[in-house]
């Protein structure tokens, strides 16, 4: 798994690609969220559009990222959910926890 990092109007955007699954991708996601926080980012947007598969470990990392960012006074939002990733968040009732936005533009305005 590769995670790209972009910056846009004060927002740090993470672009994970491929699988966020146990042993590959889950740790990478955690690391890049921590890195972003340490370099001072407080508005973090994860764009999931290129994520093909996410398992419970990957979901767990999203939840952990949410908690960490919130605890540090930041905000974490999700955008670009592929239908199956959206389904899997829905099933575990995490759509209520995460702030999920429809487009990057919307995210940029809403932070």
């Amino acid at each position: 798994m590769k995670i790209g990092i972009r910056h846009r109007q004060g927002i740090t955007i993470l672009d994970p690609k491929g699988k966020i699954t146990i042993g590959s991708g889950d740790i990478a996601l955690r690391d890049s969220v921590i890195e972003a926080l340490e370099s001072g980012a407080r508005k973090i947007l994860i764009n999931l559009k290129d994520v093909s598969t996410i398992d419970s470990s990957g979901i767990g990392e999203l939840v952990a990222a949410f908690t960490t960012v919130t605890n540090r006074g930041g905000k974490l939002k999700l955008v670009g959910l592929p239908p199956k990733v959206s389904d899997i968040l829905q099933i575990t009732q995490l759509v209520t926890v995460f702030e999920v936005v429809d487009t990057e533009d919307e995210a940029v305005e809403s932070f």
Binding site: I22, D55, S57, G60, T92, L94
Partner: protein, 152 residues
């Protein structure tokens, strides 16, 4: 026995990369069985969870312990068995991941996903130690007509 019936056994080392191997075999078997794409996807997630649990909680990533996977398609039912050499656990004690107080926990969703995506999830604990989880799913075969539907 229909021509779609299949049976494959796998014995794997306790490493997370091997989740990919199982997924690969499963995908190949389900494609061969003409199973539709959505089912393949969700069953794939459930099987990943089962194998990951066997490696992580069962064998605790001990390279000398094996995970055994049996993959069978019999009479339109997919039956997957995943056995580890761990110490077992009490499935009744596993907390509900949808409970308010668990919603923000980073783990505890694997067995829940298995239950959501499969028709049946059954735990057996061997007298010699070790956990066996059996996942079941009725397979919807794609008919020629349905396939056309999809590509429309």
């Amino acid at each position: 026995m229909s021509s779609r019936d299949q049976e494959v056994h796998l014995a794997l080392e306790s490493r997370f990369e091997n989740v990919e191997l199982v997924q690969l075999m499963l995908e190949e078997s389900l494609v061969k069985a003409e199973c539709d794409e959505d089912t393949r996807y969700w069953v794939g997630i459930a099987v990943r969870e089962a194998v990951a649990n066997a490696i992580k909680h069962g064998n605790r990533q001990d390279p000398d312990k094996r995970v055994e996977v049996t993959l069978a398609i019999v009479d339109q039912e997919l039956v997957i068995g995943v056995t580890d050499e761990g110490e077992g656990f009490d499935p009744g004690e596993v907390p509900d991941p949808l409970a308010e107080e668990n919603l923000l926990k980073p783990d505890g969703r694997g067995i829940f996903y298995m239950g959501k995506f499969m028709d049946g999830v059954e735990y057996d604990f061997q007298s010699t130690g070790g956990t066996k989880v059996t996942l079941r799913k009725r397979i919807v075969f794609q008919e020629a007509g349905e396939k056309q539907e999809e590509t429309r």
